[in-house]
Homo-oligomer: 238 residues x 2
Amino acid sequence: MKRRAICTDPSWVGRADCVHCTIRNRVLFADLTPDELNQVLLVVDDLVFKRGSMIYRQGEAGNALFTIRRGIIKLVRETPDGHQRIVRLMSVGDVAGIEVAIGSPYKHSAIAIGESQLCRIPVTVIERLDIKHPHLARQLMVRWQRSLDNADRALVEFSTGPADARVARLLLFLSSLTHDGRCADIGRQDMGAMLGISTETASRVMADFRRRGLVEETGDGERCHCNVDILKQIAHSG
Amino acid sequence: MKRRAICTDPSWVGRADCVHCTIRNRVLFADLTPDELNQVLLVVDDLVFKRGSMIYRQGEAGNALFTIRRGIIKLVRETPDGHQRIVRLMSVGDVAGIEVAIGSPYKHSAIAIGESQLCRIPVTVIERLDIKHPHLARQLMVRWQRSLDNADRALVEFSTGPADARVARLLLFLSSLTHDGRCADIGRQDMGAMLGISTETASRVMADFRRRGLVEETGDGERCHCNVDILKQIAHSG
DNA sequence: CGTAAATTTGAATGGATTCAAACGTGGTGG
DNA sequence: CCACCACGTTTGAATCCATTCAAATTTACG
């Protein structure tokens, strides 16, 4: 119910260097030629957001969409009873704020969970390229479908069944984002808001998992190692 | 957990008559000229599905998408623990199976809740038109975003808060589909599967609403009249 | 008309929430 | 540099809401 004012300005890394982008094959402009890319990158900013800072706000007339290069972003929407619910988490290669491509205001607030790096792509770029690049339209559709998949997943996996199964599924999802078995250790409040359970329940389940050795904190406190096999059993149990 | 085999064949009304379609301004081909429409309608079938019949099945390689002309469709997905969850309800003007437009298999099973009328549009039509019609691409994007909105809504409104608030929100949603204040009376099982509550709870809440005079069955048993104002209060309460 | 399916209602159980308090931690200003 | 405050997390105990299981009742349908 409390409203907090996090609106830290992002730090500007530079103009995006799409041509040498390490995740170029995973982003919107995958099908463009280097020449075309060079036109684009003049207005695409490469930004770093500190943890907790807001990238855009629900309801604002959006003039840009964002490709996530690093970190995890939460899309938050207000529930009818005034609480906040995390609608989905986005990670490397995902596009946040895609709705601006059809002239819609932002449908959620986007907030960086950990420190994150994003490319800010003005809608004008999309509109300009759209005319001569059927490929881009297709890439956009693929992103839309990916968002839709994630949305459905949020419902079917993260909002269904007992609390321990939901937490297990969330941990497995976070593990799947990294390829080293470790997973981002997101806060208990965010867990609750994502899973539709209270903060306390999220904390209790995690404490229980820790006692049972299913998750182990790594030194830094930012990530944790989890026992995927047993978590899968819990995730699939009714 | 039980699997039932409903696969009633749809009845064929005829080739679609897009030019005279009563909801043409609400469908995918809104921006095409009559001439272009005439090319299209040769392969677009106008079908009627009986209540409970399956329109397509999750996982199938889809070769068509569907515009809903009449009725309510449920998109169903299996949960990790083997139950079935309704991911969202679709109504007039919505496009079911849009994922086939990017070559994806169907992500859900689509089932008619009441008797429904749909236009079956082969993917080939989309692919053919796609090349010369930027408008169509845009229309598709708009549909994708609409599906995404509905998905988010399913999470934030229908999967959050106490059972009575969820039921109230669902009734309000169903009321908003018709413009005469009456709303489709969907079964208690579907209510449960949509709201993430048990069939019994859905039944109990509805019985309670009936006793309090918030919903009244109209004679036919297919629709009911509901007191929107009081339902809104319940919907917004924590 | 008879059977299967869906709905309704009851009673007991269990899981999650709520409220409260203690604990740890990070950041700020003195 | 340390004290202090704010914030998030953890844990406990009581309550409550929804589920589960069961049985009765109604509805749908061949």
